[in-house]
Symmetry: C2
């Protein structure tokens, strides 16, 4: 089964992201607005206990993380994904690193260097991408908050994601 690890920001930031996503993001219906910490990876069902134990240990060892957003950006020309750029604070990068520097499921499987972000537009044509990005870049977006948890999710056959479990920072389980 395919799993992923993500942070859901506050309702306020999710509402802001969804105001764009519902117009520009073809994946709007599959998952609420989120910051991906670890992209889709397979977990054998028999290993769920050890994986969730490991995630609980990582969460226990993590302090609240600032999640700050100051601009809209795009991954073009690699792809036409428009996103809210999440400030890559040391705390956030450190958590990301912990999820990619262990053994087994937590070994480094990254294809790209980590650019923390909240996707707000994707699968746009070149023209649409350019129009929307130009427009959003003129929008004044400034948001700061602190997150205290991440979630392990799994993907359904139709692409939709369901939360399996929450891991709170500084907590035993």
């Amino acid at each position: 089964m395919k799993y992923g690890i993500a942070i859901f920001p506050t309702k306020k930031l999710q509402d802001l992201a969804n105001s764009f996503r519902k117009r520009y993001d073809a994946h709007y219906a599959l998952i609420p607005p989120h910051v991906t910490l670890k992209t889709a990876f397979e977990i054998d069902e028999n290993d769920m206990k050890s994986v969730t134990d490991e995630l609980a240990a990582i969460a226990k060892d993590t302090t609240p993380i600032p999640l700050n957003i100051y601009k809209v950006s795009s991954f073009a020309p690699v792809n036409n994904v428009i996103y809210l750029k999440v400030d890559p604070t040391d705390e956030l990068l450190s958590l990301h690193e912990k999820l990619h520097s262990g053994k087994g499921y937590f070994q480094d499987n990254r294809e790209f260097s980590y650019v923390p972000h909240i996707t707000i537009g994707q699968n746009l044509s070149d023209d649409e991408h350019s129009d929307v990005l130009g427009q959003l870049k003129m929008t004044n977006i400034e948001h700061e908050e602190v997150v205290d948890r991440f979630h392990l999710l799994y993907q359904l056959e139709d692409g939709m994601w369901t939360v399996y479990e929450t891991f709170r920072f500084g907590k035993d389980c």
Copy 2:
């Protein structure tokens, strides 16, 4: 902010439910397939700690719950909602009762008697409802599983639900 409490069944059952939902459920995009345990209620942000403590205590005191489905049914003529009927086992009814028999947020606010279910169709016209229900009633649906957790969710402005926290049965937190 509006919160709700729900069980997400296994991927297998969610995949089955979504195969119907994507065709017949206008709310398909707002939340993965689920069994509602407590319908939308407001929680004051200052009370989140006490509410989640209470939910953790309830979860700790709950043993795994059988979630069995043997038929498709409908709430018509009250409304045109088609659902997978969840067998109302003592364990499930007891958990539901605990979430409606306390003080404050857990007082009894039920408008209807509890019919545990997974919605697979809604907002259908009378004709469509009748066609789809007739068709699904002839489908052989039999599924049994055991659930070991519930989730506290909150609702975004566009109606989408995000998981706030998972509560595992028999666990301290």
